[in-house]
């Protein structure tokens, strides 16, 4: 039985072919911080990291994850970005926010001081229906303050 590694924990998990990573995280492991808003890979709410790379968990089949480490918002709760999002009020309803933070955390791993254009490029896959974009940019650019 292959294991699934999530946020530093190893789960003995038999992954049925065809089941999405998002469904496994939310329904089987109870990690509901990852949201599913469109279920079609358009909106970014379900973003998690695979070995540090942001992916859309709603269209990632769990059996393709294999040995890669999955990082969800539950594994990033102590990341300074969380405070930055709250401080900058970079959210309203908050349904997209975990996905935004997971994407932004991956960006900051590769570049701790991204320019506004880099932020916009890296975050283009994360929709915020409430329209908090200017403050999301601010939070990502001031995450160490």
């Amino acid at each position: 039985m292959p294991d699934l590694r999530v946020n530093g924990h190893t789960y003995a998990y038999e992954a049925p072919v065809g089941r999405s990573l998002a469904a496994v995280l939310r329904d089987d492991l109870g990690l509901t911080g990852t949201k599913v808003a469109c279920g079609e890979g358009h909106c970014g709410a379900c973003t998690v990291q695979l070995d540090g790379v942001p992916v859309l968990s709603c269209i990632t089949l769990v059996h393709t994850v294999r040995e890669r480490e999955v990082t969800t918002i539950e594994g990033l709760r102590e990341h300074p970005l969380v405070d930055a999002f709250v401080r900058c009020d970079a959210l309203q309803c908050g349904f997209c926010t975990p996905g935004q933070i997971v994407s932004a955390a991956a960006l900051l791993e590769t570049d701790p001081h991204p320019t506004r254009e880099q932020v916009r490029h890296a975050m283009a896959g994360n929709l915020c229906r409430c329209g908090a974009y200017p403050r999301i940019e601010e939070a990502i650019q001031t995450w160490r303050d």
Partner: protein, 610 residues
């Protein structure tokens, strides 16, 4: 003492006279000038929960034994079911129950738009439920759909009687005007697309139906569900602590809630009915398209002498006729105004309230019309708007409770002045420009709305009220108001909301009415608690009650003495101070409207439309 009064209630521009109960003693307004907490930026109280992924939305509920519903929807815009056989679906793997229009009246055999719900299946998983839908044998009789709004009006197919309004003499004023501009504007339909789709999880607990639902109005859902299932109101408990956006489309129970409740009743299990993104776009409401045929007459100096608007709202198969005509009646000082609105009943998805329904569309048309007039008169568009400002509501001459539109115009000036510089940046197909529009909407709120405030021995307060925070920060605003009134630090006040069984009636989170409805109720509850605290303090330190007040976490005496609030409250032990408050009536003889100005800088590729 409680008083029973008649008052005017407004939600989303729809007025009704209601009976309501208010408390006798209205509080004085807070003194003008800066307050300690209200009016200052505050961190969103539930920000960390939302950002950390801890906030539990309806989508995140995982009740043991939950079944999942899938809904069979019409693919056609106009069709009637000739025959249906759900037996094969009931026999499909994992299926526990199937309902159709033969069982319940919120499913229909006459589909009036693509996405109309016909039947629903509850199964162990959503995948199994959806697979079972394909097993339902259904035959349709197709009909000719009606999709053209003007055609519907011509045929008299309206969702309700036409609405007309007239003041003054429009024909005479137009005939005498120096300039007349006539134009037709159309607006397209717009989808809400909240990130959390419409959804409910229903479970019966004994004789009580518990409804977890992503909603802007837990009480409205309670009433609708109780009516549908013929239950006493408080046998329905509606819960929504966090919700992922509504934008007006989540004001009602929706058929998904009724489907979940009925399937839960039949199976004895919790049932989740959660719209997919595709269903959300098909059948969860929209801002309807409009056709606006408008006319303005003006004097040479830009004074508006006549406004005329003939509006067609392409409402869809259901819904109501939103106030496309409102801005023309309310926004400018013009003595002669005539409007007519007709709501076309079409074979398209029903409209739903959407961020100032009708007013956004109507303002677009009116403000475009005024820009065309300004160009014709060679007048600065901002100056044209200032010249037509009105200090009274011309519907009935009532003064406004307050109006700061002229101040908004002044604030807009420095942005508006940039328009020449911005325009000069146009290059090739990329054209730059600055636009400006005035704004008008309701948003006064009103009774009934209630709140309770609980203060304990630890010197902390909890506001309890069954309102919603749909992401607008209303929870934080309520905490600020209670903290201000109690003289407590903001982080000593919590707000518990979103549960009809665990708090008093609170207003809908719609129509820009939450804060003006709930704020005074919370303040009044906090003031009630504060009054009781002061009564106790007067006894403890032998002072006259009227010489004592609460400030910055202290009890302050007029003679200069002060004691930490915690010293008094520490005596309470397990006793609690309980304050209760209600929203008072709106002032009579005054009009409560909100106004604003928006300036936008836009860049358009005139070749591609980007």
């Amino acid at each position: 003492m409680a008083r029973l009064i008649r008052t005017e209630k407004e939600v989303e521009g729809r007025y009704e006279e209601i009976w309501t109960v208010v408390e006798e003693d209205a509080l004085e307004q807070w003194p003008s000038g800066p307050l300690a907490i209200v009016g200052h930026p505050a961190q969103r109280q539930d920000g960390p929960q939302r950002a950390r992924g801890e906030a539990r939305y309806t989508a995140d509920l995982r009740l043991p034994g939950t079944l999942h519903a899938a809904v069979l929807r019409s693919e056609s815009a106009a069709a009637r079911v000739r025959s249906i056989d759900v037996a094969p679906a009931l026999a499909a793997p994992g299926v526990h129950a199937v309902i159709s229009f033969e069982d319940v009246n919120f499913l229909r055999d006459d589909a009036g738009f693509p996405g109309a719900a016909v039947a629903a299946v509850a199964a162990d998983t959503f995948g199994l439920a959806r697979a079972a839908l394909a097993a339902i044998r259904i035959e349709w009789e197709e009909r000719e759909p009606l999709l053209d709004a003007d055609e519907a009006v011509a045929r008299g197919q309206l969702v309700s009687d036409e609405r007309t309004y007239e003041r003054g003499d429009v024909a005479g004023a137009l005939a005498g005007a120096d300039e007349v501009v006539e134009a037709e504007f159309t607006t397209s339909s717009v989808l809400h697309n909240a990130l959390e789709t419409h959804q409910a999880v229903c479970v019966w607990e004994g004789d009580t139906l518990v409804v977890h639902v992503s909603t802007q109005f837990v009480w409205g859902v309670r009433d609708e569900v109780a009516k549908a299932f013929e239950l006493p109101l408080d046998r329905v408990r509606v819960v929504c602590e966090y919700m992922g956006g509504g934008f007006g489309a989540k004001n009602g129970a929706g058929e998904y809630t009724l489907i979940a409740a009925e399937l839960a009743r039949r199976t004895g299990r919790p049932v989740r009915c959660q719209l997919t993104r595709r269903e959300e776009n098909l059948a969860a409401g929209n801002r309807n398209a409009t056709i606006q045929r408008l006319r303005v007459g003006a004097s040479a100096d830009g004074g508006l002498v006549a406004l005329e608007g003939d509006y067609v709202n392409a409402v869809g198969y259901g819904g109501w006729v939103a106030g496309t005509d409102g801005p023309m009646q309310l926004l400018y000082g013009c003595d002669n105004v005539r409007t007519r609105v007709r709501g076309a009943k079409l074979n398209s998805a029903p409209m739903a309230a959407f961020r100032a329904p009708g007013f956004v569309e109507g303002t677009f048309g009116l403000e475009c019309l005024l820009d065309e007039l300004a160009a014709k008169l060679d007048l600065d568009p901002l100056e044209l708007r200032k010249r037509n400002h009105s200090d009274v509501d011309l519907l009935d001459g009532r003064p406004f409770s307050s109006k700061s539109l002229m101040a908004c115009y002044r604030l807009a000036e420095k942005h508006w002045e940039r328009r020449h510089e911005v325009r000069a940046r146009s290059e090739g197909p990329w054209r730059h420009g600055v636009g400006l529009a005035s704004q008008v909407w309701y948003g006064g709120g009103g009774p009934p709305s209630y709140a309770w405030v609980r203060v304990g021995a630890d010197g902390r307060a909890t506001v309890v009220t069954a309102m919603q925070d749909i992401g607008t920060g209303s929870r934080t605003a309520m905490a600020q108001i209670a903290a201000e009134e109690l003289g407590l630090p903001l982080d000593h006040v919590r707000v518990e909301l979103g549960d009809t069984a665990r708090g008093p009636y609170a207003s809908i989170s719609a129509g820009s009415s939450t804060i003006p409805s709930m704020g005074p109720a919370v303040r009044s509850a906090a003031a009630d608690a504060a009054r009781q605290i002061v009564e106790l303090a007067a006894q403890r330190w032998h002072r006259e009650q009227r010489t004592l007040s609460l400030k910055g976490g202290e009890i302050v005496s007029a003679d200069g003495g002060s004691w930490p609030l915690t010293e008094l409250l520490g005596l309470l032990g397990d006793a609690q101070i309980l304050g209760r408050g209600a929203r008072g009536p709106n002032p009579t003889g005054m009009r409560v409207l909100t106004f604003g100005v928006q300036v936008a800088e836009v860049r358009v590729d005139v070749e591609t439309g980007e």
